[in-house]
Symmetry: C2
């Protein structure tokens, strides 16, 4: 059986995106075949699209979907056909059908829409992994979240407030974004274009600093992040929007404040890691969704035909929360 999917004509800009016909994938033991309702847009998809090292046949883009189980090849009876799930796919997400390894399927609560579900996997799992598995965020600690209005940022703000009652400090580049972060629970909002965030962090914490830093930025924020770190800070580095080369790095602060600087990323992790993370997330965080205390943040949903527009929106950082494409009505 054939299906429609999005690939590229050749590596490059969004004009290279092309709708193709591919075979519906075959689920193997331990996997689910899912009829896709929505696929999420991620910055990684754009890096893949542009990657000059990509080999033919060019892949279907995307890493996450929501949808309905069509075939359950696992021994988990909770995943029978008809179950609403979301998750990180094995590969190939912008398509009518996708494979999710059963271990990393998130079972959506009955009251949650498939659209809302599609806004969960990548950003919430990344934020959860970063804050809790790597950052070991403790109750009442202070967390500094850069790019607060991004998909991962909006997920992180909510979890930090609702799960940990943390003090949340965010940076973003517009008043609209900062206002939205405050609605989600941010205690302190900083426009990085107008203010030195390290000075605000020090002032707002009476010199204590941030116990956890979520850093999508890298080089351009390096020195200010060092200044913002508390003693025993866990500074989790998961993106390079501000470049990768830093000069005049002073290591003495890392000794004096016992800073942990931890580079990470979710996508290249092992299957076992992703499954364990999804299981922990299902148990720990999904109840907050059911109780309405945490919500998926969706900026805009695009028609399946409009993937190029969705990519352009992400490239322009226009979004507050997730960008989705609608593949099929559930």
């Amino acid at each position: 059986m054939q299906m429609k999917a999005w690939s590229v004509q050749k590596p490059g800009g969004s004009e290279q995106l092309t709708l193709v016909k591919r075979q519906v994938p075959t689920a193997e033991k331990g996997e689910l075949l899912v009829e896709v309702s929505y696929a999420g847009i991620n910055r990684l998809d754009i890096l893949t699209r542009e990657n000059p090292a990509m080999k033919k046949p060019y892949p279907i883009l995307g890493v996450e979907v929501s949808g309905v189980v069509k075939e359950n090849h696992s021994d988990n009876p909770s995943l029978e056909p008809g179950t609403k799930v979301a998750g990180l796919v094995k590969k190939d997400a912008y398509a009518e059908y996708a494979i999710i390894p059963a271990g990393r399927a998130i079972i959506l609560p009955k009251e949650m829409s498939l659209k809302d579900g599609a806004a969960i996997p990548e950003v919430f799992l990344t934020a959860y992994q970063t804050m809790y598995w790597l950052g070991k965020l403790q109750a009442e600690e202070t967390i500094l979240i850069h790019a607060g209005a991004s998909g991962v940022g909006t997920a992180a703000i909510q979890m930090a407030r609702k799960i940990s009652n943390a003090r949340v400090i965010v940076t973003a580049g517009s008043q609209e974004k900062l206002d939205f972060c405050r609605e989600l629970g941010a205690d302190v909002t900083i426009n990085y274009k107008q203010e030195n965030f390290d000075e605000i962090v020090q002032k707002e914490t009476d010199g204590h600093g941030a116990d956890v830093i979520l850093d999508f930025i890298g080089a351009t924020y390096w020195h200010k992040n060092v200044n913002s770190a508390a003693v025993d800070a866990r500074w989790i580095f998961i993106g390079t929007l501000g470049g990768v080369e830093v000069d005049h790095v002073d290591l003495s602060a890392f000794l004096g404040k016992r800073i942990s600087f931890i580079g990470s990323g979710l996508s290249p992790r092992s299957d076992d890691y992703k499954a364990a993370l999804a299981a922990d997330f299902q148990k720990t965080v999904i109840p907050y969704f059911q109780a309405g205390k945490i919500k998926p943040i969706i900026h805009q949903t695009y028609a399946f035909a409009d993937v190029a527009k969705a990519h352009q929106a992400m490239e322009n950082s226009e979004n507050i929360g997730k960008l989705l494409i609608k593949v099929k009505d559930a």
Copy 2:
């Protein structure tokens, strides 16, 4: 009652060391008064001695001793007077009497001499904390230990081999030091003056790299340490013998290899932390000493009168293993 102790006339070189008379300290609840047999020399003592910010009255130097319990003000019956102990003192170690908080006293096995015991606390606890609490060294992993012949280095080599059957790669600056590291169990020894250690690490691990790096060096080894790190490496930074300012830092390796760079130090930790570490160490590592599988490494023992000579030896990095001063025969 008065005792003899070593302080400084004013902050400066080893010529400023001065023998003084002080009151025997008073043990409070939860503490031990210990009659000191040996005190260990540490690089921190030299930093203290030189510290221009030091205020009068100048302190007694030193952070660790071995000795015999004179008064037990804790409720731990295993620490009755006459017990042989070693440990990190509350403060003031180069003296005839010292206070050890009971929680961080290491009870020495009967067959171990007080001299050997004095070579344990600072270097073995630091190496243990660094490798296991921070570096999470797993069985059969590869560890890169810089300054392999130092006090912490010689402790780390032995524990990595005997507790974790790790593959141990060391750097040092002379053939004599490297030979000694090999006797202690190092699998690969590198003279950093003659070879690029990152190339050897890559070659000897077939491109895998080091899972854990013990870094006392800092700036001058930065780029080679990045090159040496394995995917998911834990790089523990505990000393600045090679300076603190680094240029051309490339953050992309931290994302690509998911490197954790963790600054730390044992001395400024809380009392609770030190007590928990000592308790874990007593349970996990002391049995290896009893079985003769791990041994304290002592380079030289100086008479109580010769503290200045001991400091000079440390400043010249002459030592393989610990430098001690003998305060009293047990």
